[in-house]
Subunit: 248 residues, 2 copies
DNA sequence: CAGAGGTGTTGACACAAATCAAACGCTTAG
DNA sequence: CTAAGCGTTTGATTTGTGTCAACACCTCTG
């Protein structure tokens, strides 16, 4: 894991030109109502596509910030490391979501982005994005919304970490995944976890044993069935009850 | 507290025109190197100043989003409420910091912003900001940095909530306040807390009793002296040790 | 096909923080 | 000046989650 030569080597064969105009994730990445001309400008803004293999870093904390990344396919995690070795998974990202906005503030990335499965991303050089944003109002506004959405998401995680108990956190996590898979046309009830129990635990502020126990409990109660990373939600309403109900 | 008539009534007397060009917080709110002409444009972009009295809301979750706010003076908290009554303080903001970016994504605010002392803010209508951002590149980039900084800050809070123990959280909190007061020309070692133990606890994911006990312990150890809301840091290095050291 | 290593589950126990409870001390209002 | 009320401190106890440990399972490699 630590032995990867270095970061990501862009494979020339895979350095295909992206084409937002053709992309089925268009509605996730781009605003509505762009003219043909504007979409073409966006096509030109987006640099290359790049494949990132499982366990490879898309970027690392400390690296110079030059671009943000749109996930075309695959699954990522982002995490922050403390000097003393502790780390915190700050998010899991899937197709259509944007990575790298943490880097804008300090001209360097502040977290690591790691592919949890073989993935494909579009490189969006940031100077290009800013230039085009100055020309296309809808694009500008859309980008602001994307950043704002990230802030709102982070607030949700704070709520989760600050006020919820272990089972509530896991229920919230599963419901969130379910909802995001649904939005991408996958089953709301059945999916594969791309991350380990340890990574889930880090994200939720729990130890992996606690995550495992909560999964087992959910299974015992008939809310879900778990086999390794394969999850089937049997009772969404039941999971939701865990969330709203538990006022202490 | 719940009886305030409604939100914030702009007092016409206080609806003074802001003047960024004259503002001593200029370097916090604005990019370097704007031309005179550009600063004047920014002056025009910023709407009015508004006074918010202690315990008044600057905005509430659900209200339409129309502007972001720069704090001229004073102190705020932001918090998110869950249906079941739980709430999470998501941040404390002081002079020169920006409030309201959570509202961009959904056209409505997603959290509440409450003044913790009598405060003064500059209203920045968002359409104006976007318009001017399209004209002044430095302003655009600066705003992107501000949003990104908020994301990075949120990651820090996640780290805190996800991996730290009670005393580490409080130490991190005090050091962060100290550093921000310092940046504003106040004493790094002596300050007044504007928030209650309960609010600190909510922010740090702890109960108020735990916060109180941690304060007492810090005092016993000679790191700080506490008298109600008056804090004096006696041993910054000691507090820092609490952070780096505690790898479990 | 076997073995190794990474990953996940489960149990026993320890411990940090929550909870419950009482009292104290500021601050505010009459 | 006094009383009321909120915020804070401190103590006793409970409890949820962490820790440590053993084992089972799955996957990949040779």
């Amino acid at each position: 894991m630590a032995k990867q030569i270095h970061s990501v080597i862009p494979l020339t064969l895979n350095a295909l030109k992206a084409a937002c105009s053709q992309c089925n994730l268009r509605e996730l990445c781009l605003p509505y109502g762009l003219s043909e001309q504007e979409v073409e400008a966006v096509d030109n803004m987006v640099g290359v596509r790049r494949r990132i293999k499982r366990q490879q870093h898309l970027y690392r904390a400390g690296e110079a910030f030059e671009a943000i990344y749109a996930i075309r396919s695959g699954f990522f995690k982002t995490d922050v490391l403390l000097e003393d070795g502790r780390d915190q998974v700050t998010g899991f990202q899937m197709a259509g979501e944007i990575l790298g906005m943490d880097g804008i503030s300090g001209e360097a990335h502040t977290c690591n982005a790691v592919a949890l499965e073989d993935s494909e991303i579009c490189v969006i050089p940031f100077v290009h994005l800013e230039r085009l944003s100055r020309e296309i109002q809808a694009l500008q506004h859309h980008f602001h919304k994307v950043m704002s959405r990230e802030i709102v998401r982070d607030h949700g995680v704070m709520m989760l970490l600050g006020t919820m108990r272990a089972e509530e956190r896991l229920a919230a996590f599963l419901l969130n995944l379910s909802q995001r898979f649904t939005a991408r046309g996958y089953s709301p009830a059945e999916f594969h976890l791309r991350m380990t129990r340890d990574e889930i635990g880090s994200y939720l502020g729990l130890k992996l044993e606690t995550v495992s126990r909560a999964f087992s409990r959910f299974q015992d109660e008939g809310f879900i069935s778990v086999q390794q990373k394969h999850i089937r939600i049997l009772n969404i309403a039941g999971l939701k009850t865990l969330l709203t109900h538990q006022a202490s």
